[in-house]
């Protein structure tokens, strides 16, 4: 399987699945094609899509960021204080910047834990997740504090069923893929993810690349927080939780768990696909357990399909190792 084909496969597969499900859903339940449903589908995709784009950054450099789940929640809670209902625009702008600041601070904190203290990314971000969760509950122990309706209107402004922000995310994903595959900086990110030691020997500032990737990941999660806040419209300390879904979206979109490979457009398509499943199941009166099973099965399938050659290589290498051990074990007795 050529590298070029493997790069395109996730995009093609996800596009086919999205179209197939949409056609089937629309044929069986006309409500699926209503403006109300399609707009909601795209708006509910927004937070996951933004977090997944960020998560792709972390995966590209061979890490994970599970703190994004609580960061989104924290942003919703902070928005209920800094962007309250009825606030004037001159309050809303610094209020929105406060959310970006929360994202930036979290990203710098995570990156410091990972690069300066040398903690594994999953452990470092798990700690941050817990701190942010507790902090969100401390600020709001129950959903309260309505968020500015004007800000929500701007965030969710749509033409027909199409939210303009979604168009923005599509453009962002395309630009990010062009950056990843057509720029020196993108090449450096992939090189660090594939083999950090070699990248360092080649003179790349690997520390800065990893640091930047985690900061961008948190910033994207903070942007996702704006759209999660627009969904729930109140300071809820329990809404959020995109950690596993964002990793799932990035992997389904073609990111390698070992780092060095991924696609922002793929992550966006996967976010649309995952949201589509969640949207369609209740329309057909199907329990949400099916969504969880489907997502889990698809992740495994994606790993097999996209990373089959690596897995086969690892299997062969392990098998050869076992064979050598058996041979050595057999010699003295034989």
């Amino acid at each position: 399987m050529s590298l070029r084909f493997r790069g395109w496969m996730p995009l093609a597969l996800l596009s086919v699945l999205i179209v197939a499900i949409a056609v089937y859903a629309g044929a069986r339940e006309p409500a699926f094609y209503s403006d109300y449903n399609l707009r909601n589908l795209l708006l509910t995709t927004m937070p996951l899509a933004l977090v997944a784009l960020g998560q792709t950054n972390a995966l590209l450099v061979g890490g994970f960021d599970v703190s994004v789940a609580a960061l989104v929640t924290m942003c919703i809670v902070v928005a209920s204080f800094t962007m309250p209902a009825g606030a004037a625009w001159w309050v809303l702008i610094p209020g929105a910047l406060a959310l970006v600041g929360v994202g930036l601070a979290t990203g710098v904190f995570n990156a410091t834990l990972i690069r300066v203290l040398g903690l594994p990314s999953i452990i470092a971000t798990l700690g941050t997740l817990s701190i942010l969760q507790g902090g969100a509950l401390l600020l709001r122990d129950h959903p309260e504090g309505p968020i500015s309706g004007e800000a929500i209107d701007v965030l969710t402004w749509s033409v027909g069923f199409l939210p303009l922000a979604f168009v923005g995310v599509v453009l962002l994903a395309v630009a990010a893929d062009l950056w990843l595959y057509r720029s020196r900086r993108g090449l450096a990110v992939r090189a660090v993810g594939l083999d950090e030691t070699s990248a360092r020997r080649l003179g790349m500032s690997t520390g800065r690349v990893v640091f930047g990737a985690f900061v961008v990941c948190s910033l994207m999660a903070a942007l996702g927080g704006f759209y999660a806040a627009a969904q729930v419209q109140i300071g809820s300390p329990i809404v959020g939780g995109y950690a596993l879904e964002s990793i799932a979206a990035a992997v389904l979109g073609g990111a390698s768990l070992a780092g060095g490979r991924g696609s922002f457009v793929g992550a966006l398509l996967a976010a649309v696909f995952l949201s589509l499943i969640k949207n369609v199941l209740p329309l057909f009166q199907q329990p949400t357990e099916y969504a969880q099973i489907t997502i889990g099965a698809l992740i495994l399938l994606a790993l097999l399909l996209y990373q089959g050659p690596e897995l086969a290589r690892r299997f062969r290498s392990s098998w050869q190792g076992v064979g050598r051990l058996r041979t050595r074990g057999a010699t003295p007795a034989g």
Partner: protein, 425 residues
């Protein structure tokens, strides 16, 4: 072509029969009031003669009211709320197809087979405990008393707030006619409540699932005022505990039910009573055990517990006390009257364990559905349908009812034979 004609004698009886039937139909059409014209089976059983409107009859059997409310007088005070409750409980007496109800319960929805044009939905954030499952069955049984309801749908978001919003929006997209819900995520559900209301869909909540703006953002909230429940809990604690440490347990963090009674119990307590812990349990028995064990370790001299979920307390706290090697000497104020709690208390046979409980209120979901149906027919629904609170003393009114599954509530209106099929063994 041959016309089928019977012998003259048989034809005579046939004509006479048709005449009698036609006269009966005319009499029914002239004699029935407006309510009877639109009423479903609930109003046409012939057992009720009360006044009614909007397809309902405002009368219910006294024994049934006593079973579900402890006392037939414990109905809402204002007239319209009282009428809605009577109409709902009146329907609870109707015969419905229990096999269909069971299928509907197991399959999370069904077509009712009446070809009715309406679809009603019970859409909740979390449905994976016995309390919610029984509420689901109460909802289905009530829906089956309306021939105009052709489809019943049910969704649980399995504790995922984002999925809860998506499920609600899916119900709106599908054009569900009435939505009944328990808002597990509190005011986080407000956007979708408003969207449904804007789309002309009545939204009602039960078990005092209070979200801001009933009557404006959604149709109505049904249940006991949880603030009054908290005050009733405090009265018991003041009298039975007097002084010392007590703890509050709740469901999901931030859920309106727990917050409602907790914020009103605490200020009503004696100065000598300290609330040493307020913990969330997600209404999960194993978490109750974990939480109670933790609190017991820190405060072995704790004297009282206030909580909603009786069965969770019976399963979790009894195990925690046992593991700690302590006798379960405590005063419990519980919102639910689960059979398992009463039976566990009876088994312990400990005079120092005093249990006071309110009704689980599963049947309140029937009132919520009937309120939604009446709203569809043009009724003015009060924004709050409030039931008075009167706690029961386990020592005087045993909630361990023979023949009931441990998981059931003694005040549930789900027939016992159906409960046995829902929870065999």
């Amino acid at each position: 072509m041959h016309l089928r004609t019977g012998p003259p004698r048989r034809r005579y009886w046939l004509v006479l029969g048709l005449l009698v039937a036609a006269l009966a139909l005319v009499a029914a059409g002239c004699g029935g009031d407006d309510g009877d014209d639109e009423a479903g089976p609930g109003a046409t059983t012939g057992e009720t003669t009360g006044d009614g409107e909007f397809g309902e009859v405002y009368e219910a059997d006294e024994a049934l009211l006593e079973k579900t409310l402890f006392d037939a007088e414990l109905l809402p005070e204002d007239e319209m709320s009282r009428n809605i409750a009577l109409a709902a409980y009146g329907r609870a007496d109707d015969d419905v197809d229990q096999e269909l109800a069971l299928r509907c319960w197991r399959n999370n929805g069904c077509k009712t087979g009446t070809d009715g044009e309406l679809t009603v939905g019970y859409v909740e954030g979390f449905g994976e405990n016995i309390y919610r499952e029984i509420s689901k069955m109460e909802f289905i049984l009530q829906a089956l008393t309306y021939p105009e309801i052709g489809e019943i749908i049910y969704t649980s978001a399995q504790s995922d707030p984002d999925q809860a919003l998506t499920d609600f929006r899916a119900a709106i997209s599908r054009g569900v006619d009435v939505i009944v819900t328990y808002p597990d995520f509190g005011d986080a559900m407000l956007p979708v409540f408003k969207e449904a209301t804007e789309a002309g869909i009545p939204v009602t909540t039960y078990a005092w699932g209070y979200v801001t703006g009933p009557g404006e953002n959604y149709t109505t909230v049904v249940g006991e005022d949880t603030c009054n429940l908290g005050k009733a809990f405090a009265n018991v604690m003041n009298e039975e505990v007097g002084s010392g440490k007590i703890a509050f347990l709740g469901g999901f963090p931030g859920n309106p039910l727990s917050l409602g009674w907790q914020k009103c119990e605490e200020p009503e307590l004696n100065d000598e009573i300290q609330v040493v812990a307020k913990e969330a349990t997600n209404w999960d028995s194993s978490k109750v055990q974990e939480v109670v064990a933790g609190i017991l370790a820190r405060h072995p001299d704790i004297k009282g517990w206030s909580y909603e979920y009786g069965l969770g307390m019976a399963q979790g706290a009894v195990a925690a006390y046992k593991a700690a090697g302590k006798p379960f000497d405590a005063v419990l104020t519980m919102r639910t009257d689960d059979v398992g709690l009463g039976c566990a208390v009876n088994d312990l046979d400990n005079p120092n364990l005093k249990v006071y409980y309110y009704t689980a209120g599963n049947s309140q979901i029937r009132v919520a559905l009937t309120a939604g149906m009446m709203k569809l027919k043009g009724a003015e629904i009060p924004p709050e349908i409030v039931f008075p609170v009167e706690l029961q003393d386990q020592a005087e009114r045993d909630s361990c009812v023979e023949g009931y599954p441990q998981e059931a509530s003694a005040t549930s209106l789900v027939p016992v034979e159906l409960l046995s099929k829902m929870y065999p063994g």
